[in-house]
Amino acid sequence: MKILVCISNVPDTTSKINFTEGDTKFDTNGVQFVINPNDEFGLTRAMWFKEKQGATVHVATVGGAQTEPTIRKALAIGADEAIRINAEPTDGFFVARQLAEVAKNGGYDLIIAGRESIDYNGGMVPGIIATLLDMNFVNTCVSLEIEGTDAKAVREIDGGNETIATSLPLVIGGQKGLVEESDLRIPNMRGIMMARKKALHVVEATDAPTMTADVKFEKPAAKGPVKLVDAGNIDELISLLHNEAKAI
């Protein structure tokens, strides 16, 4: 089985986010970037397929050279090869179009992307890839098992789960549940050293339109100071939660 894991390079959730150019651009200076968490769940599941079922795992990202540390991390975790499509990921359609092209050329049986990336939260990439490649598609996927070309996927739906039988070739939009947080792997020193020797192919982007443009970003209002309330003073606590925090 040949697996492609699509990886988005996103800011660490703990980074301070600022915008520039009249709030139309995200200021990346000093920001730490990581593998999109939904993609990391997918990558970890792919490693399971590699170790237990002998799958080959490639990872791909759309981005400039500055995204290479993120895909190197995927190599250090155990992916076999990486592909970087050398273009700015301008919007969801553009990214999906690039990944679909790579996927088509690579002949993958399974394409794992995240349900959404945690930066722009577009949530459209895996669906568009499946459409462009005419493949089966399961979104919000929380469990995936494969036997031969048969796939059994569980997807999260409102208030419960739905189990689906489908077959390869398949695209999934993965999320937590594919593996648990405690299963996520921290690359060790040997893995990091080996990653330097693994292939990281840089390919040029194919022509594709960018269909949207950012007009403005807005941040939520800043948090105020903490108020300490005496343990015995329930009335004040309720009043603060009701009137100020508007939480109750």
Partner: protein, 606 residues
């Protein structure tokens, strides 16, 4: 877990920009690594520390290591951490490929150690001592010792210790009496060792003690001390372990670092404790001292890390706690105004800035000393290696002492920032204060380090190390002189170098007259003085790097980050460096009030 206990961005700034890690990675020995892979490693170790270390920090303090039924019970995370560290490569990282290591420079290993110690300083000692013990075996031990012990130590299965201290021999190791009696191709060991970190703990399959002892008939003093491998359980050569007559007498109850056991061990109570000589006869202390630079950097690193973690905790509190109001232009406070966050009070800001300059200055010193260690070991040119070896020698007592001593003062200020809560165990600051206390005691007290600095390092090779260090400082001064906003500070630092010459002239006068007691009597104030100036130098260098980045429009960090470094440098030069004037006055006093026992200086009873 962004900056809960560490500011990784500052660590990377110091490592990559100020101390130019690339220069080390370009050396043939290390060029299987590059700055991207080191960056990834740092992030990995941060994730590892978030997961395996920080969550247990408070717990380990609340459930201290203790002696029960003949063994020492430690927090269950100790064994898990040992094993997980082995898998991460944290034990083997610095070792050469031939010993199963990954040939990482000491600068990188210390950066990784720093992250772990900031997360939970009760744990890294277990691997630190194992690494130190394994290093002694790989450097000086024979093939058999290497094969029997090192692989299991480096994968985290067996622990290691350093057994030096005895009840009558702490600072003065020449008084060691533990004996080693020849017994075929091995020795029988007899004696007791106290304060042995990581000396025994439940769940450890084996512990490998690197022990100093005196072979029967050996010369007195330091020259008669040899080094032995003494395992808790001895391997029988067929994959089995047999008890080696090492008894755990007790665990010391301590005020801090309670999760890191400190043991009293008795070797050979039943006459059946085998020891295996490492290297040559009577060379034990020399071997230990060859490893001492690394161990002392590690202690300074630990203190710098605790200081940094405490800074993060008090910084967070200061941004959450509202109390009092800012003074209005009338000089009064408007009680109808909402209370302000305490971070807005100048006195709180002063304490925070003190924590910042001490913790980041200490980290810079740790990384620079580590860099000198790497260059002294791995440069191609012998003369250059010698230069960095001397620089390493002179900085070693300082890197052990400044973070421990000033780090404690900084953490104490952190406690103060929390007001009453600082004193209460609901908040973590009090634990940092208790934990950091040991750093100025073990691995040679501040008194001993200060005598090493003034009595040996300053004068070694006719003052060559000091001369080399002054040249390094002058290079920074010269570079800062051309930056308008740094010029005045560069001048001030130049003046301090001159003052140092005056002080040394005055002190060396005593040594020339043969009055060594007077020469060294104020070695500790001299350490205070000299380390203060070195940290000023390191801050000027950080400010220079930040200013350079602002001028060239570097995008590695945002403008606020770089500006904060320049501001902190100004704070250091304004609030810390001037203390050297008073210290100079103390050191050059001619009253000799601490010398001589004729007068009853402590009253009638003593």
């Amino acid at each position: 877990m962004a900056n809960e206990y560490i500011d990784v961005e500052t660590l990377k700034f110091l490592l990559n920009e100020v101390h130019d890690l690339e220069e080390i990675l370009n050396l043939p020995e290390y060029n299987d690594h590059d700055s991207d892979s080191i960056d990834l490693l740092i992030n990995s170790v941060k994730d590892f520390s978030d997961k395996e270390m920080y969550p247990y920090f408070k717990e380990m303090d609340e459930n201290p290591a203790h002696f029960k039924n003949g063994e020492i019970v430690v927090h269950p995370q100790v064994s898990k951490y040992m094993k997980a560290s082995g898998e991460m490569g944290l034990l083997a990282g610095a070792f050469p490929y031939k010993d199963g290591g990954m040939q990482l420079p000491s600068t990188v290993m210390n950066a990784l150690g720093y992250i772990q110690e900031a997360a939970n300083n009760h744990l890294p000692g277990y691997i630190g001592l194992t690494i130190g013990a394994a290093e002694l075996i790989t450097h000086f031990g024979n093939e058999n010792l290497n094969q029997t012990y090192v692989p299991k130590m480096l994968n985290g299965t067996w622990g290691g210790t350093m057994c030096l201290t005895e009840p009558q021999a702490g600072s003065s190791l020449s008084d060691i009496v533990t004996s080693a009696t020849p017994d075929g191709d091995r020795y029988k060991i007899h004696g007791q060792k106290i304060f042995i970190s990581g000396g025994d703990y439940q769940g450890a399959e084996n512990i490998v003690h690197l022990l100093l002892a005196r072979i029967d008939g050996a010369p007195a003093g330091t020259k008669g001390i040899s080094l032995f491998v003494v395992p808790k359980n001895r391997p029988d050569g067929h994959g089995q372990l047999a008890p080696n007559d090492v008894e755990t007498v007790t665990d010391f109850e301590k005020m801090g670092q309670k999760g890191y056991c400190t043991t009293h061990l008795f070797f050979g109570g039943n006459g059946d404790c085998h020891g295996y000589l490492v290297g040559e006869l009577h060379q034990g202390l020399k071997y230990m001292f060859l490893m001492m630079n690394g161990a002392r950097i590690a202690v300074g690193r630990g203190a710098a890390a605790i200081c940094a973690a405490a800074y993060q905790a008090s910084l967070k509190y200061a941004h959450e706690r509202a109390q009092g109001r800012k003074l209005a232009s009338t000089g009064k406070k408007d009680v109808h105004q909402e209370q302000t966050l305490i971070v807005n009070h100048p006195d709180v800001r002063r304490m925070l800035l003190l924590q910042k300059v001490v913790s980041e200055g200490a980290l810079s010193l740790v990384l620079l000393t580590s860099k000198y260690q790497d260059l002294s070991k791995s440069l191609q040119n012998a003369e250059e290696r010698e230069k960095y070896a001397l620089l390493l020698e002179i900085l070693t007592p300082i890197v052990k002492t400044y973070p421990s001593e000033m780090g404690r003062v900084a953490v104490d200020n952190g406690v103060q920032i929390l007001g009453g809560y600082g004193f209460c165990s609901d908040y973590i600051l009090q634990q940092y204060l208790r934990d950091i206390r040991i750093f100025s005691i073990y691995e040679g007290t501040t008194g001993i380090q200060s005598q090493d600095l003034l009595g040996r390092k300053i004068t070694m090779e006719n003052g060559k190390a000091l001369q080399l260090l002054s040249n390094e400082i002058k290079t920074t001064i010269k570079a800062a002189m051309v930056m308008d906003n740094l010029q005045a500070y560069a001048h001030t630092l130049g003046d301090k170098l001159q003052l140092t010459q005056d002080i040394l002239k005055s002190l060396l006068g005593y040594a020339q007259k043969g009055d060594y007691e007077r020469f060294l009597a104020d070695a500790t104030p001299f350490m205070d003085y000299f380390s203060n100036i070195l940290i000023a130098w390191l801050w000027l260098d950080m400010a220079r790097e930040a200013q350079q980045a602002l001028l060239t429009g570097s995008k590695r960090h945002n403008t606020t980050f770089y500006e904060s470094k320049i501001h902190a440098m100004q704070f250091y030069f304004t609030y810390e460096l001037p203390k050297t004037t008073g210290l100079a006055e103390i050191i050059m006093n001619d009253k000799a009030l601490t010398i001589g026992s004729k007068q009853k200086v402590f009253g009638n009873e003593y």
